[in-house]
């Protein structure tokens, strides 16, 4: 069953100097129970896509989409209603996501009492249970602590527990490991994986890190300059990327390059969000750019399971 379906989502900010296109055209199809990666460089519209799902875009944002549906409901009108009820956010920097002057217990309880009508004692029991479910030791004592007394990994677990406390079944995890040490990050990913299978959650995993996709994602969508350029099973994208940008992202991973060779950084820069794009957005940086690429929009190739938008008929090599 498809839980989230988005077609041609765009987010535009009209400004005095012209429209800023934070998201140009994003397609997403997420199966219930899946972890779906949303991968791209910084500034490609990953976070904005997530915020559009939550209905938390900055003031002045204009959202348009051909299809924008969550579990049969129209997100364009229902985002504020669904936020916190069905959809919750695990944000990038857990230290910033927790209110520094409120105890963990108070912050858990604020979420719980927004979504449930239970007496205080019952809510506290739920809070303890959820904190324990995220692998935090000594959850009762933790209720009286302040965020700054916790390590980054513990803070992120608290944020996850808060997200669970909303009762949402769809989590948007925005770079949940970026602010953490590698080992701690891996633990958090393992926790998310476990929670997904135990509780039947669905996760949109926003990341710039192919390793994260490889570690936990079932499927993934690659974004470039606010456009989805490839979507398919995570294993297929990691194994044989079809879009040259996906291939370049993969090649930029440190362990994809034999020792002593230069890291394959992607030359050039992402086009500015104010710039109009006529052909393929990646053409100026593409190693296998064809004469048609800069001027003609690329066709969508592949099948419903794995598709990509590129002029090359064989895909990247």
């Amino acid at each position: 069953m498809i839980l989230l379906e988005i077609k041609a989502l765009s987010v535009t900010f009209p400004t005095a100097t012209g429209a800023v296109q934070a998201v140009r055209s994003v397609d997403l199809q997420i199966e219930k129970g899946a972890i779906h990666g949303l991968i791209g460089e910084s500034g490609c519209g990953k976070t904005m896509t997530g915020m559009a799902l939550l209905g938390l875009l900055p003031k002045g944002a204009q959202v348009a989409a051909e299809v924008f549906r969550f579990d049969g409901m129209d997100l364009a009108t229902q985002a504020a209603y669904l936020r916190g009820k069905r959809i919750a956010l695990i944000s990038q920097d857990p230290a910033a996501a927790l209110n520094p002057v409120l105890t963990i217990g108070r912050q858990m309880d604020d979420v719980l009492r927004t979504h449930r009508t239970q007496p205080k004692a019952a809510r506290q029991a739920v809070a303890v249970e959820l904190l324990a479910a995220t692998g935090l030791a000594d959850p009762v004592e933790l209720l009286n602590r302040y965020p700054h007394q916790l390590s980054g990994g513990m803070q992120q677990r608290v944020v996850i527990a808060q997200a669970l406390a909303t009762g949402a079944d769809f989590l948007i995890a925005d770079e949940p490991t970026t602010a953490l040490d590698v080992t701690v990050g891996a633990q958090v990913l393992a926790l998310l994986r476990k929670l997904v299978s135990e509780r039947g959650l669905t996760v949109l995993m926003i990341t710039h890190d192919m390793d994260v996709v490889a570690a936990v994602c079932d499927r993934a969508t690659v974004l470039y300059a606010g456009l989805s350029v490839e979507e398919g099973p995570a294993r297929a994208i990691m194994g044989r990327p079809h879009h040259p940008f996906s291939a370049a992202l993969l090649a930029a991973l440190p362990d994809a390059v034999p020792r002593g060779h230069k890291l394959a950084a992607i030359e050039g820069r992402i086009p500015s969000p104010t710039q109009a794009i006529t052909g393929c957005a990646f053409a100026p940086r593409c190693p296998s750019c064809l004469p048609v690429c800069p001027d003609t929009p690329p066709p969508v190739r592949g099948n419903s399971d794995h598709r990509w938008a590129c002029h090359l008929d064989k895909g990247a090599r």
């Binding site: 936020r83 944000s91 209110n99 002057v101 604020d110 927004t114 909303t166």
Partner: protein, 340 residues
Amino acid sequence: MDLARYILRRAILSAFVVVGVTFLVFVVAQVVPSDPAALYAGPRPTAEQIEKARVTLNLDAPMPERFVRFAVSMASGDFGVSYKSRRLISQDLGVYLPATLELAIFSTLLALLIGIPAGVAAAARRGSWTDRLGSLGSILAVAMPTFFFAMLLQMVFASWLGLLPLSGRLSREISVSDPLTFVTGFNLIDALIAGRPQVFLDALWHLILPALTLAAYPAGIAMRLTRSAMIEILSRRHITAARAMGLSERRILYGHALRNAVGPALTMIGLSFAFALTGSVLVEIIFAWPGLGRYVSESILSKDFPVIAACTLVVTVCYVLMNLVIDLTQAMVDPRVALT
């Protein structure tokens, strides 16, 4: 623990400041004026009277000894004798200080009750008419000279509209024919103790105009500070995170954001109270409010230094202690303060 060390450090610093303040007051009051003895001796003194005063005031002793004596007597609550009235200053202070504190506390409450909600409303609806009106009000309030504002309020609310009393702390019928028994010196409280609601209302009525005068400036500042603090806090990630968890705007504004603004709010309490205390010097003569401020401003004309010095010292020490309490409260509310 960090907090304990922080408290100790702040306490030591405050003690040092109190000593320094005492020294400065001593220098200004006893060293700068040309001849305290002549002033002490009263109008047209004889050489003999001046000499006697010189001995009484201990003016010939070496400077360090004089300072120590001054500090010791101040610390023991002996502020000396008023040149003009010859009364004990400590006795006068006992009557005047409560009157001024009552006014200062009331006006601080007023300032915060006006300034903070106005700031929150302006920040929550940035760029709206509420915001613009509030900002305009705060600019006007900050530029208004206190003493002139006092007179304007008198003119409009007392003389023209006749809504509120022109001056004084109580109506004449009460203060002359049936005075309150002095318990705390706070008329509002004393009236309640005496069980006289009529007097309570009368005291409250007299309090409004002077308190409003003293509240204008701090309310303007409080509005600005709250507004900018709230705008900054509302842009933080944990607010977005709270929204993403589905919390209502109300709870986010008052439960989460305002809690982060406790620091600025405490600072504002200190600022408002200090302003009210010093502003009393200007406002009390205008409203004939029998407090410390009027005591000081009347002493200026008679060059009654011991009175001015004692009042300055008492108010400053109050002020230092209050800042200490505010800093410590700050450290308790926001546990990160003590770490920096």
